[in-house]
């Protein structure tokens, strides 16, 4: 099972919302993945177990795993394309 990690500033609102949206879309597409929402402070310790990082906070460093923008999951603009991208990454 692959792990997707979503992080935002405080981990209270946007990351949880994006995580549940991604979880729902993964289920619809039958992508077996675990989606985790964390705050940016605990990102470093959690990123080691993740396969993809969905970012909704400005990123100042490279975590060494594929990173995609979480904004399409909030605005709906380009969401399907982003899911295609995510699916492609998780297949590898």
């Amino acid at each position: 099972m692959k792990t997707i990690i979503v992080a935002c500033g405080s981990g209270v609102a946007t990351s949880q919302t994006v995580a549940s949206k991604v979880d729902k879309l993964c289920k619809e597409r039958k992508i077996p993945a675990k989606v985790m929402a964390v705050d940016i402070k605990s990102l470093e310790q959690n990123i080691r177990i993740a396969d993809v990082y969905i970012s909704i906070a400005p990123s100042y460093k490279d975590y060494g795993i594929p990173t995609i923008s979480g904004i399409p999951f909030l605005t709906g603009v380009g969401m399907e394309e982003t899911m295609d991208q995510l699916e492609e990454i998780l297949k590898k």
Binding site: C8, G9, S10, G11, V12, A13, T14, Q16, T17, S20, K21, I40, S55, I56, A57, P58, S69, G70, I71, L74, T75, G76, V77, M79
Partner: protein, 154 residues
């Protein structure tokens, strides 16, 4: 049931005027403070967080911002909604680089994330509905906005 009280007609404002982002966030934080929803520390926390983790979103129809901060500054949960007389520049969430001309603000006072996440999800699902955002912007009074939001959230 705390969820049900988050949306309140007295927390819906139309055509708010502000000089810039900081002025706008201060005014909105003051409203929440005066009405007893947040602690006095909320305003500074909102201003600081917006600088580090901007909340402007390039939504279709009407651009929105979603300022919020840590639960420790919140007394009781609330959603403060305001349309703006003139667009105010926010930085884009995620990149933190692009400017977004925001026309509607949803300030969140989040107290218990686990409990409120469902309502927040519904609120955010409004952001991908261009027609709903446009109808909200066309409203001439708070009752109209309340009815639309209520229909979407509950």
């Amino acid at each position: 049931m705390e969820d049900m009280k988050m949306l309140d007609k007295e927390l819906i404002y139309l055509d708010l005027e502000a000089e810039d982002r900081e002025d706008l966030l201060s005014q909105l934080s003051d409203i929440l403070y005066e009405k007893g929803y947040v602690k006095s520390s909320f305003k500074q926390a909102i201003l600081d967080r917006e600088k580090v983790f901007p909340t402007g979103l390039p939504t279709l129809g009407v651009k929105v911002a979603l300022p919020h901060t840590d639960p420790e500054h919140v007394i009781k949960p609330a959603i403060l909604v305001s349309t703006l007389k003139k667009p105010i520049k926010f930085k884009e969430m995620g990149s933190g680089v692009n400017d977004i001309d925001v026309e509607m603000v949803f300030m969140l006072a989040v107290k218990d994330p686990a409990y409120q996440v469902k309502l927040l999800q519904k609120l955010i699902s409004i952001f991908s509905k261009e027609n709903v955002l446009l109808s909200l912007k066309e409203c001439e009074d708070a009752q109209c906005m309340y009815n639309i939001l209520y229909g979407e959230l509950y």
